[in-house]
Symmetry: C5
Subunit: 161 residues, 5 copies
């Protein structure tokens, strides 16, 4: 029976190019995500290429993501943002649509996109996930980006010939 727990060991980390698209709304928390993402990317791949793009709010992430994805030479893109779902349903509709748009752009461009545009209920939840060290979603995003880039590269390599 196959074991899914360990990721395949790689003898050396391949050079990888990433882009981060971050929204500026709730900047304190998004900055936490960006910092943790970059720190972990450089820890895993010291010579990683990282391009950072900023958009006003979460709803504007996909329009830039689409342009960035169409440039084509990226191994993975990371979308970072914080939506605090408040008293109205507006934020919830935005979060659902942005999640869907990120997925569609990823599939159309065939580039993996890590989705850490977080929907949270309050500042306390945002702080825990963006500024904390225990379950930091930026750190997770970086790890997911590297892993999925490796998996896709392996797959394409084996199925190229």
């Amino acid at each position: 029976m196959s074991n899914i727990l360990p990721t395949r060991p790689r003898s050396f980390a391949a050079k990888r190019n990433f882009a981060i698209i971050a929204s500026q709304y709730n900047p304190k928390y998004v900055q936490g995500l960006v910092d943790h993402t970059c720190k972990e990317l450089y820890a895993m791949i010291p010579n990683a290429g990282i391009a950072l793009y900023q958009v006003p709010g979460a709803f504007e992430i996909p329009i830039l993501l689409q342009e960035v994805a169409r440039r084509g030479s990226l191994d993975a893109i990371i979308a970072l943002g914080v939506i605090i779902e408040g008293e109205t349903a507006h934020a919830r509709h935005i979060a659902a649509t942005v999640t869907d748009a990120i997925m569609r752009i990823s599939l159309e461009s065939r580039i993996p996109v890590i989705h850490e545009v977080l929907s949270v209920r309050n500042e306390e939840q945002a702080e825990k996930r963006c500024l904390g060290e225990e379950i930091n979603r930026g750190t997770e995003a970086a790890r997911a980006a590297v892993q999925v880039a490796n998996v896709l590269a392996d797959f394409k390599e084996k199925n190229a010939a």
Copy 2:
């Protein structure tokens, strides 16, 4: 580590052309959004071009948005409306579908669309967001439109050659 807080300073504001598509349902609140949007756009870009289009309700915003977006020479489009989610689920289904349609039109036309078709629960919430000065969604829409237009213009400029 990159800092996402400050937007890149621009030595002078570029001339920008915007369109606003506003629904007429709940007119008092939508008028507040339109007024604040225009005021802020002119404050940021005194020679901004602003075209205003009106449709009956939020569900009719996308059909006109699609026509306006296809004209092509706009830097950003702003969709403004107020959906008061009442006793039935009808408004919620409309809000979800309109959010999705606005996103798809933005991605197909490659023009950023700011989505401030607000879903609120009651008139009090609408008043605070549309007529107030503290968290006015029209003012926010204008700022987001200018910022994302700048970001996209920069991106296209750098990646054109």
Copy 3:
């Protein structure tokens, strides 16, 4: 600052052609919507062309709507129906999908479609919206259809040359 309240006055009402697609489920209420829609359309545009199509339930509205929209010579289409969201989630899933399908057909055909396939919780809510005079959704549908047809016609006229 532009004022969104008054619709642009037109010196005379243009001849317009409409189609109504109505579901037959909950017929008493849908009949109310159809009656009020037709009455208001004829009041606004005495020589309006109105074609009425009937389908069994709300889920069957889009399949006929698509055929009708593809004929092409209509100024607006009005979808009328009543979904009473009962004890199960079945009706809610249908309402969400039908709302989405109506929007997509409208955008693909570039014909405005007024969406008054109402989701209500009980017969009392249906009665108020379909048979009453105060907030009759059929009357609203007719007004929205005429207004959006005018707006689109104006837009196409100005952007044709």
Copy 4:
């Protein structure tokens, strides 16, 4: 004013070909739907052609539905299934996606698809809708299929020349 209540009388029932796609999960209830659907179809159109296809669960309905719809010579397709929305959200996500996929396949193939993949909360609700005689969804599905097939055939006939 047009009256939507009576369906147009037809002097004789046209020969019609139907396909039923039924999921096998919760088989007792789905069998009830299948039986009532077939019984009503034959009652309305004695020489009806009915092809029955079975898939494991509701999520597998669309993949076969798409193949069946592409064969093209059907007047309507009926999707039957029972999703008991239990303690987790898994079933709800499936029900929403299946509803959407059925609609999209119907619109792409231009064949009406009757959607009676029921979402219910418990076995009692399933029993009432699938095995009962009062509001049997299979009987309803058959009637809807015949009616919408007639409506579409009429529409295409009138708009063919």
Copy 5:
């Protein structure tokens, strides 16, 4: 009246090729799903071909699924994962979008995809569905994959000439 209960008996099990795409988040539970799926597949089809692919989280399943599906020579693909819907709405938005993306990839590639990316509320629910023997979703996934592969193969065989 047709009986949907028994699946058509096949005189011998055809050789079938499957792919499993599993997310690594909540690894204990996903491992349970993978183990039960493989065990049941080999029990039903001793000479089955099974390829296992791993991605970091549920949101990354579709990007690899799309690549795997495009290779084309598979009878069915099984998506396995566990999303514990926690305190925020983030996981729920992801689950809805992943369900939708899996369906769309299945329909585009015309390969059946079994969707057992489970949305659960807590570890207890995950344990019951992934590690238990009574309602193990991995075992169910394997059976559904074999059945739907047979149904589709039969359909294509009969409709090929």
